[in-house]
Symmetry: C2
Subunit: 375 residues, 2 copies
C-alpha cells in the first residue's frame, strides 16, 4: 500500500537526502517517517553485515527531562536501578505502567544536565508530562530537536574514528560523548555520538542536535564513508531477528511485562527507590512470567516458502493443535540458511522443550523453540 503524504506524519531532517538515495519503503514510528528499504534488500543486508550502513532513525524521538527533580523523576519512570548511572552513560530500560506492563523500551542517556529517553514507538511524551505534572516534580519535559542517524556494520568504527578521532574506540557500549563534527561549509555540527544502534553488527548513533543540518551531516558521512563501502539502509528485520533484538509493540502485546519480553535482567525490584509498576513487577519476579519471548526455527524443505510478511500476529500451536503463543515476524536468515521467527510462547512449553507448529502460506509447519539470539 502507498503511504499518503500528510504533515501529521512528520518528515525528518534527512528526508531529502533519503529521497535522493532512492528510498522505496518506509514505516511510521512515533508519527514520523522511518525509511526501511532502498529497493535492494540483499545489498542492504550485505552492507550491514560486511561494511557499513547509514540509517535515518530520527523517528527514535527523545523525551528530555531536566530540572532540579530530574534524577528522582527519571528513576520513578524507570524499572531499573539508576543510582550509579554516570554522565555519558546510556542504559537500556523498561518504562512500565502501574500494573507492570511495558509502555516503551528506550535507551536512557544521562547528559550533563538532562536525561533523554530515546524511544521506541509510543508517545511517551504524554506519559512523562502527565506523571511529572501530577506528581509535582520540578522538571521540564520536552521533545528536543534531536534526530539520530545510525551508522551500523563492522566498518562503522573506522569511519567514525576517522571523523571524530581514534579516542572514540574507547567508548563502551551505550556510552556517548557530546561533541561536534567539522562541516566544510558552515559551523561545526552539534551532536551526541553514542555507541549504540538497533543491530548487533557494531556501530554508532549520531544524535543530530540541529535539524537544519541534516543534509550536510548525511553528505559528510556518505563522502567519508565511500572507502568503507557505505550505503543507505534502515533497521533490518532479518538481522534483528538473527540477533534477537526486541521490537516493542511488534513482538510484545499491550499486556506484556518486561520478564515476558526478555528484559527481566534489566528490571531491579529490590532497590529502595520507588518507581511505577514496582510492586507488580516484584510479583512477576516472584511467580515467574507466564510467557517467554523466544526464537522459532521453522522446518522448511526445499521448494517450500522460506519467509513471509506478517501484518498481524499469528498463532503458535502445540503439536496437538492447541494455541500456545503468537508469532510476530518470520524471516529467512542468509547466514544460517534457515527460516526464523520471533514469538511469545507459554513458559511451560518453552521449559519442556516441546516442538510447536505454525502456519505458513503453503501449510502448517513444525518448528523448534530456541533461545534468543540465534546468532
Amino acid at each position: 500500500m502507498q503511504l499518503v503524504p500528510s504533515p501529521r506524519i512528520r518528515t525528518t531532517p534527512f528526508h531529502r537526502s533519503v529521497g535522493r538515495a532512492g528510498v522505496t519503503d518506509a514505516t511510521v514510528y512515533n508519527k514520523m517517517l522511518l525509511p526501511t528499504s532502498f529497493g535492494d534488500p540483499a545489498a542492504e543486508y550485505d552492507r550491514l553485515i560486511n561494511a557499513v550502513s547509514i540509517w535515518d532513525v530520527s523517528a527514535e524521538r527523545q523525551v528530555e527531562v531536566r530540572g532540579p527533580d530530574a534524577d528522582t523523576c527519571v528513576q520513578y519512570l524507570t524499572a531499573r536501578d539508576l543510582s550509579k548511572m554516570k554522565h555519558g552513560q546510556g542504559k537500556y530500560v523498561a518504562m512500565c505502567d502501574h500494573q507492570g506492563r511495558i509502555l516503551n523500551d528506550p535507551v536512557l542517556l544521562k547528559l550533563a544536565d538532562r536525561y533523554w529517553f530515546s524511544l521506541a514507538d509510543s508517545d511517551m511524551l504524554l506519559w512523562v508530562k502527565a506523571i511529572a505534572a501530577e506528581r509535582g516534580f520540578d522538571v521540564t519535559v520536552t521533545e528536543p530537536d534531536v534526530s539520530p542517524l545510525a551508522l551500523q556494520g563492522p566498518n562503522a568504527e573506522s569511519l567514525v574514528g576517522e571523523l571524530f578521532g581514534a579516542h572514540i574506540k574507547d567508548l563502551k557500549y551505550f556510552w556517548f560523548i557530546e561533541t561536534e563534527l567539522t562541516a566544510p561549509n558552515g559551523p561545526d555540527i552539534p551532536l551526541v555520538l553514542c555507541r549504540s544502534g538497533w543491530s548487533k553488527q557494531g556501530g554508532f548513533e549520531l544524535f543530530l542536535r540541529d535539524s537544519s543540518r541534516g543534509e550536510e551531516l548525511w553528505d559528510i558521512l556518505m563522502t567519508a564513508g565511500a572507502p568503507y563501502g557505505i550505503g543507505p539502509g534502515g533497521p533490518n528485520n532479518i538481522e534483528r531477528v538473527e540477533s534477537g533484538l526486541l521490537s516493542w509493540g511488534g513482538d510484545t502485546t499491550p499486556d506484556s511485562n518486561p520478564f515476558e519480553a526478555g528484559m527481566g535482567r534489566y528490571v531491579d525490584v529490590d532497590i529502595s527507590a520507588d518507581y511505577i509498576g514496582k510492586a507488580a513487577l516484584a510479583e512477576v519476579a516472584r511467580t515467574g512470567p507466564a510467557r517467554l519471548l523466544v526464537g522459532l526455527m521453522i522446518d522448511t524443505e526445499p521448494g517450500q516458502v522460506e519467509a513471509w510478511p506478517l501484518d498481524e500476529r499469528t498463532p503458535v500451536y502445540s503439536t496437538g493443535g492447541d494455541p500456545v503463543g503468537t508469532m510476530s515476524t518470520v524471516v529467512r536468515s542468509p547466514r544460517l540458511d534457515a527460516t526464523l521467527a520471533i514469538a511469545q510462547v507459554k513458559t511451560e512449553v518453552v521449559e519442556a522443550r516441546l516442538p510447536v507448529e505454525v502456519d505458513a502460506p503453503d501449510g502448517r509447519r513444525t518448528a523448534t523453540v530456541r533461545q534468543l539470539p540465534f546468532l
Copy 2:
C-alpha cells in the same frame, strides 16, 4: 512510498474486506492502518457528496473510562463543561496539557456506565492512565474492542434507517444508541450507532463492539447499501478542507491551543470544576490567541498547478515576504472550482484582512484569508 507490513502497525477488523475492495492508499493513525483511497479519487469524492461512502475508521481508537470516579476523571481531562452531559450524548472536546496545549480533539461519548474518548491520532491511553493513576481516581482505563466504521454522504440516513429503523432519524448530531444489527449467519452484531463522522455530508459511525464480526458487518452494509450507491472510501481531504474540519497534528502544531485551532467555542473557562490546563486557557481567553486557523483561497490561473501534496507544513508570507504563518494542506475543490488550503496565520494578519502569499510548485502565489468552513 510503500508502507511495509508489521504487527506494530495494527490491522483492523475490516482489513480483509478493505483489501478485497481494492485499497491502494493508507495512512497510519494511532498505530493502526487507516485506508484513505481505493484508486479512484474522483469517484470517492463523488459518492461522498452525492451517495454514500463506507470508511474503515477503526483507527479512531477509544479510551474507555469507567468506575466510581469516572465523571470527575473525565471532566478533569476535558476543557469543556460536561455537567449537563446525558447518557446517549456525544460532545466534541479538547483534551489539553497543563499548559493548555491541545493533546487530542476527540468526540466524547457518555454510555450507560462508561465514557469513550473517540480519538484523533495520539496515544491518549498513556495520558489518561497516567493522570488517573497519579490522581488516585477510582476508575478503570482501557482501550476496548471497539472499531468505528463510517457511513458518510446524503444517502447514509436512508440506508441506516432501513437497517436500524426509522427512529434513527430522530438522533441528533453526536447522539448515539447502543444497539445491535441482525446478521444473516450469526447472532446479532453489537454496536453503538452515532450520528457523527469526519465529513459534513451527513452520516453515522457504527462503533463495532466485537472485532471478530468485522467482515460480516462490512458485507451487510455493502449489500444493503447497493441501491443507495455505496462504495468504499476513506476520510476525504478535499471535502474536509471545504468543510473546515480540523486535522489534529496536521493542521495544529504541538504548541497549538484550542483557541488557535478554531475550538474556542468548545472551551469553558468559567465553570467551577477543575480540569487540566484551565488556568492557561483562561489566560488565552483573556488575551486572545496569537494565531488563528483559517482557510486560504489561493489565486490560480488556468495552466497553473491546481493542488499539490504537502508532506510538511510550508510558510505563509505577507505580501512583503515576512513569514506570518504555516499552511498544512492544499486541495482543489470541485464544488468551488478553486484551490483551497488550511493554515495557521497570525491573528493581526487575519483581522486586518491582509492578502498573503504561499509557494506553489510552479512559483509564489497570492492568496486570500477566509473564515472556515469554505462550504
